[in-house]
Amino acid sequence: MKNKFDENEITKLADNLLIGLTKEENKLILDEFSYIEESINKINGITGLDELEPLTHPFPVSLTLEEDIPTEELTIDEVLKNVTDHDGREIKVPKVVN
């Protein structure tokens, strides 16, 4: 079966997610991507979809506003416990704006 996808397309999809792929990973995904597309295309073999609304939640729910109840939240120190690098209460990352 001829693969309609190529290495560059897989790289682009991964790049959009800020994920890098090794050559081996790219090949693995590329090799099965036609099958993946063929599989998910079974969705489009179902008739009558035009009349249906997409289902985004298992069942209808009514969302209500909650009462404003003050609660204890995390302190800055607690929040920063998992941060690799910080300066006081600010998370340190490389320069973003020149």
Binding site: I29, I40, I46, P58, I69, V79, N82, T84, I91, V93
Partner: protein, 476 residues
């Protein structure tokens, strides 16, 4: 079993210490044998109260946040992550005096069905160490099936509690969507994710969910289920109406069926006869095969798309393993490139593909429409029937033979449990005997919020099948 343990804990003040010491010792032994834990814990004795869960050890899937305790999602990207808050489920269990003895291995970030893709290695089936437990709640299933704990907490996005329960010969119960709060669960696909329980009998599953259910202000999708889940669990099920799906259960639908498949469906049919003898009406119904074949592709499309979005928070900046670079985007990319396994990257790439502007209508939106059609179909059936009963699939595969590669073949028998996630239905697996000396399961699924009815049916069927409270006896 939980009730008996509780009685003993109340009546014998030395028993908690003995139980805890014994469980912690066994954790070490079983870890060596089955590799079921990411982290083992040594909780301290607690005050035994009237609550049934106080002082009873349990295991927790490692995709729940635990304050001050490593919570990895079995992924390298979170291998050193120690949350600063508890998941609501954990908070409730702590408040009840339940004792967590370990955080269990899952398929990386919950995305897998074999228990072989966690960053700490493969979880082995306590019935036979060459075989998988299934996933993604592999370690939780192993902890219960091996007799280490009487219950474990899991999560279920496609079948991640109910399938490993089948493969390890135990009970796996996913309540109606939202009955158990998802706050603090590492979200995989939010519209499909459920929190649930693994136990060795139906009553225990009902007891644990009864204690933990309820609306949580921190999870806007959580709901109140006012019904008591235990009250009618022993009621007669005479005249209840069940249905099964011909396209899955009739051997004539399979081309050259394997001996294992023949035996699995034979056991299922035997159980149907047993259930009929209880005065239950069981009918065979037919469902469009194309729709059934679209279940797995629909699941893959929706779950990968939601996962791609949900896990965009794993950047290594505010938590997790930070990448190396002097540029922030490259830093995030480095963290994600090193932190995710190939299989996870593949799922994200699929998610990215179906969410591309040019593909969204064709794949993602149409998948959501197929989901709607499936849910409409089963909602109609649940107006006529009390529950759907189906075999959970074949027994466990050998570890050496598993593959997480997505096949173009759509195996309905192995993928139908996702119906429960599409509709948010209560769904429970119980053991249904053995094929090739390995456990198999049957599953009951019913309409939303009808959990008490599903538990009642499962409990009464469990009584007559003879596999209640079984503990794995390793055959090798």
């Amino acid at each position: 079993m939980i009730q008996e343990l509780h009685k003993k804990l109340i009546s014998d003040n030395k028993y908690q210490g003995e139980l805890l010491t014994d469980t912690i010792k066994k954790c070490q032994d079983y870890q060596t044998k089955y590799n079921l834990f990411v982290t083992m814990l040594e909780p301290k004795e607690t005050k035994i109260t009237d609550n049934l869960l106080s002082g009873i050890p349990y295991a927790l899937k490692d995709n729940f946040s635990t304050k001050g305790i490593l919570s990895t999602g079995s992924s390298n990207i979170l291998k050193n992550y120690i949350p600063v808050f508890d998941a609501t489920i954990v908070e409730k269990l702590n408040n009840l005096g339940a004792l967590c003895v370990g955080k269990t291995v899952l398929d990386e970030l919950g995305m897998g069905g074999t228990g072989t893709t966690g960053h700490t290695g493969v979880v082995k089936n306590p019935w036979h160490k060459d075989y998988i437990c299934g996933g993604s709640s592999a370690g939780s299933a192993c902890a219960v099936a091996s007799g280490l704990v009487s219950y474990a907490i899991g999560s279920d996005t496609g079948d991640s509690i109910r399938k490993p329960a089948a493969l390890t010969g135990i009970v796996g119960y996913k309540p109606t969507y939202g009955v158990l709060s998802r706050y603090g669960l590492f979200q995989f696909a939010s519209s499909l994710d459920h929190v649930g329980i693994l136990t060795r009998n139906v009553l225990d599953a009902a007891i644990v969910v009864n204690e933990l259910k309820g609306r949580d202000i921190k999870d806007m999708t959580s709901i109140n289920l006012d019904t008591d889940l235990i009250e009618n669990i022993n009621a007669s099920i005479k005249n209840k109406k069940l249905f099964y799906i011909k396209e899955i259960c009739d051997i004539n639908n399979y081309y050259k069926p394997s001996a294992t498949l023949v035996s699995t469906l034979k056991e299922f049919n035997k159980t149907i006869d047993t259930i009929k003898n209880l005065g239950v009406k069981v009918e065979e119904i037919s469902i469009n095969k194309h729709l059934l074949e679209a279940l797995h592709p629909t699941y893959i499309t929706i779950s990968c798309a939601e996962a791609t979005s949900n896990y965009s928070n794993l950047t290594g900046i505010s938590f997790g393993e930070r990448g190396n670079s002097t540029n922030i985007m490259a830093m995030i990319k480095d963290a994600r490139t090193k932190g995710f396994s190939t299989l996870i990257k593949r799922r994200f790439v699929i998610g990215s593909y179906v969410l591309q502007k040019e593909n969204q209508d064709k794949y993602f939106l149409n998948a959501q429409k197929v989901r709607k059609l499936v849910v409409n179909t089963f909602n109609e059936l649940f107006k006529k029937y009390d529950a759907l009963i189906l075999p959970c699939g074949l027994p466990a595969k050998k570890i050496s033979e598993v593959s997480e590669i997505i096949s173009k073949d759509t195996n309905i028998l192995e993928n139908h449990l996702v119906i429960g996630n599409f509709g948010g239905y209560p769904s429970i697996t119980i053991p249904n005997g053995f094929v090739n000396n390995l456990p198999i399961g049957i599953n009951f699924t019913g309409k939303i919020k009808d959990d008490a009815n599903i538990l009642n049916i499962a409990n009464k069927v469990e009584e007559v099948l003879g596999y209640k409270d079984q503990i794995a006896k390793e055959v090798k």
